[in-house]
């Protein structure tokens, strides 16, 4: 089966990210399915950043440690990534800047001769990569014309020099089928929200959710959105409640630190029954933690954030198609039940780039909110209040209102029984099951298929879809839970619901599981 990976690396400021997505677009044009893992430090210039572009005959949403091409623009790339190369792997490097074995191209010299800017070294190495891999120049030309808007001619010229300076080594054949869109999880969340009737997006920038803010801001006119970046996450959350009060569907986005500041507003949403939707992009904590890396550590936080007891909906989409459906659904459910919804993403899903299959993505539809009605006195209140919204401390009204707010959870859970909150993959009869949630679906399904195991993935976290989980895990004697945290948060939730987890595989170094790594860890557990 065709399945290979290309790693491109260098210092932040080299344009590695852009180069990675151009390589992905080129491979996408060949009918291959794509996934990009992006690894970068929290700084603007310097440091070491890399992208792994994996291409395969089948749909994929996880990266592999071993790669088939390393494109090195600096010495550090050779030092750090040379050992990732497969036996027949090719190391393509700038021989006028880097000492290495492999396929050297005098990239810096070409740049000098052409009097081009330093950043075009990545353009040059893409040209060389295409020639070496046996990809037609026409495809590169087409992708460049579509994706590069500044100094296109000069970029094409430099790429051509890189192309001509290399010798063909491989021959990647195209698969005759239509390429699919390539988008980030953040874009998929944004599109799903827009589809479900979003009118306003409010956020304070914070990795890994800033991508949604950028998506919304740059498409505000196109989709008729009001996009606001206020002074703090406290303001973000309270503004969102103001929009809800005025009858406009609004969503906010942040990460754990920002969510801390939003919790007073979250609780207010619960009390005043003002719909709210929060995209909570997870990254490693505690505190500032590793800002540009990944984790699944906010599950318990999302479950219990905010003072008092109130109904909430929590969903953790696996990939862009899942995110498109569930982000829209989270918005609709928030408005239908007048509750807060939390969309738990993580850096892996939010900033990873995936193929998006328009055909297979479910459409959430649109719940129409009761918009502003003149003539009715509308009172929202953060205090306990009577049905008219007037403050009360009366014990009977207090109990009645609290019961009414909490009763929503039952109706919500019942409605969710009709949705695919949990899905089964791999060998559905295997007694060994990998249980996962959120972005770990891709890597778990791949490992399960390889090892002939069952993989069970939950998108909905709360209300916990107990019936669907039990049904999906029926007959599994050994349940191995896979999570990106140190305390097995989802496994703990399942154990409370009477689903006994036999073993936890946990990774909490900020990096997602690679396919080989998870296979190795699972093999140990099933013997």
């Amino acid at each position: 089966m065709k399945d290979f990976s290309v790693l491109i690396a260098g210092k932040a400021g080299f344009g590695i990210d852009k180069a990675g997505s151009i390589i992905a677009s080129i491979l996408n044009q060949l009918g291959l399915r794509i996934y990009i893992y992006r690894d970068y430090p929290s700084l603007i210039r310097g440091g070491h950043t890399f992208s792994i572009i994996r291409a395969s005959e089948k749909r994929i949403s996880a990266h592999k440690d071993k790669v088939d091409f390393v494109l090195a623009l600096d010495q550090e790339t050779v030092i750090l990534h040379k050992q990732r190369l497969n036996k027949k792997g090719k190391l393509i490097y700038d021989s006028s800047a880097v000492k290495s074995e492999g396929l050297g191209i005098g990239i810096s010299n070409i740049i000098k001769e052409e009097n081009a800017s330093e950043i075009m070294r990545n353009t040059c190495i893409i040209g060389s990569f295409c020639k070496i891999a046996g990809i037609n120049w026409e495809i590169l030309d087409k992708v460049f014309r579509k994706n590069i808007d500044r100094e296109l001619d000069s970029n094409l010229k430099i790429a051509r020099r890189g192309f001509d300076a290399a010798q063909q080594e491989g021959n990647i054949e195209a698969i005759r089928r239509a390429p699919m869109p390539l988008i980030t999880g953040n874009e998929a969340i944004g599109l799903g929200l827009v589809n479900a009737g979003l009118k306003a997006y409010i956020a304070y920038p914070m990795t890994p959710s800033s991508g949604i803010l950028h998506f919304m801001a740059s498409n505000a006119e196109n989709f008729g959105l009001k996009v606001v970046h206020p002074e703090s996450e406290i303001s973000v959350m309270l503004m969102s409640l103001g929009f809800a009060y005025a009858g406009e569907k609004c969503v906010v986005g942040t990460s754990g630190g920002g969510f801390c500041l939003m919790t007073e507003g979250l609780s207010f949403s619960g009390m005043a029954e003002l719909p709210a939707v929060i995209v909570l992009g997870q990254r490693p904590g505690p505190s500032t933690g590793l800002p540009t890396y990944t984790s699944q550590t906010e599950l318990k936080f999302a479950l219990s954030a905010g003072q008092g007891e109130f109904t909430r909906f929590i969903v953790a989409p696996a990939d862009p198609e899942d995110a498109y459906f569930w982000a829209g659904t989270a918005l609709n459910l928030a408005w239908k039940y007048r509750i807060p919804s939390i969309i738990l993403s993580d850096k892996t899903m939010a900033e990873g780039i995936y193929n998006f299959d328009t055909g297979s993505a479910d459409k959430p539809g649109e719940e129409n909110p009761a918009s502003w009605q003149a003539g009715l006195v509308k009172k929202a209140n953060s205090y306990e209040h009577d049905p008219a919204g007037i403050t009360t401390e009366d014990p009977d009204i207090t109990k009645k209102m609290q019961d009414m707010r909490l009763a929503k959870e039952k109706s919500l859970a019942k409605e969710l029984e009709g949705c695919s909150c949990v899905k089964v993959y791999g060998n559905k009869n295997s007694k060994n099951a990998l249980l996962c949630w959120g972005s770990n679906k891709g890597v778990c399904v791949e490992a399960a298929e390889k090892l002939n195991l069952r993989a069970v993935h939950a998108s909905v976290i709360w209300p916990l879809p107990v019936k669907q989980l039990k049904k999906s895990l029926k007959g599994a004697g050994r349940i191995i839970s896979v999570e990106n945290n140190a305390t097995a948060q989802f496994a703990g939730l399942c154990n409370c619901a009477g689903i006994k987890i036999s073993k936890n595989i946990l990774k909490y170094d900020g990096r997602p599981f690679s396919v080989e790594e998870l296979e190795r860890l699972v093999k140990k557990e099933i013997k």
Binding site: P181, G197, S235, M239, C250, E264, I390
Partner: protein
């Protein structure tokens, strides 16, 4: 002229003699007169924080958003952005907006968003039973500062002027006629307006006599002159003994923030085709 019933079922729990009564009564008269001038009461939204002042929204039968402590401004801004046709009026306390939520006030002034803030500035925390606030004078003995505060107060109007507010005024709860006049002017002003009301807390900080001896109404003052406005705002620093000017200090015009959001969302089929288009571009 049609009379509204502005009362609600809520029982009023302010102390007898509380300065909040003057603010509420002045405001109710203004609501009536706005309605007579073609601003329907249905289009008015009141936002309040937490504190004695905030109960005002329970007592007036008008659309309201009873927010959290320090969080009057953000929902008020959002309601205005969502529905620019509404008149959004925030009631807030000095602990509430000059303390916990002061950043929101600064940003709202910076944006010149078209909302009105009425600050019940009694210079003491009433509902939490008598602690100092950002505008209490130096040495104020409260329950959290029994030996007296060690920090001088801020001058909120000076801060608002430098933040970009386009309408600034001061009144007192002993001067209801002036309050009526400046509330109405503030509400009709296009842009961010703030009225600092020296509202007296009879229980924890009774300043009636003190204010009565020192206040005077501005006359011959040009509110469009920034430097004059600044000089008058600085005449009393909320700390040292001085004459206390009342009235409109400052008034100017510049574009307001909510005007940037007049887009309309396309209908569902158009949105759908725009999404498909976006995805096509991503191939």
């Amino acid at each position: 002229m049609s009379e509204f019933n502005l009362n609600t079922t809520a029982k009023n729990t302010w102390c007898p003699g509380c300065g909040n009564f003057a603010i509420m009564n002045a405001f109710k008269t203004v609501l009536q007169s706005l309605s007579d001038e073609g601003i329907p009461i249905d289009n008015v939204v009141l936002v309040s924080g937490i504190g004695c002042h905030a109960k005002i929204v329970d007592y007036i039968n008008v659309n309201s958003f009873y927010s959290l402590h320090g969080r009057v401004v953000p929902p008020a801004e959002a309601i205005k952005i969502a529905r620019p046709g509404l008149k959004v009026i925030g009631f807030s306390g000095d602990g509430d907006s000059y303390g916990e939520g002061i950043e929101h006030l600064i940003f709202a002034a910076k944006r010149n968003i078209d909302i009105t803030m009425i600050i019940h500035n009694n210079r003491v925390y009433g509902l939490t039973t008598g602690q100092y606030t950002p505008t209490s004078p130096l040495g104020f003995r409260g329950r959290s500062t029994p030996a007296g505060t060690k920090e001088a107060p801020i001058n909120p109007l000076e801060l608002m002027l430098s933040s970009g507010a386009t309408f600034l005024a001061r009144g007192t709860s002993h001067g209801i006629e002036l309050l009526k006049k400046i509330f109405k002017e503030a509400i009709l002003h296009k842009g961010f307006s703030l009225v600092d009301v020296l509202q007296v807390c009879v229980t924890y900080y009774n300043m009636y006599e003190y204010y009565d001896k020192r206040v005077y109404e501005l006359s011959g003052h040009d509110p469009q002159d920034y430097n004059q406005a600044l000089a008058k705002i600085k005449e009393w620093d909320y700390n040292q003994d001085a004459r206390i000017p009342l009235g409109v200090f400052y008034r100017s015009q510049r574009p307001s923030f909510e005007e940037n959001f007049l887009l309309k969302r396309p209908d569902a089929p158009e949105i759908n085709s725009k999404i498909q288009n976006y995805l096509q571009q991503a191939i």
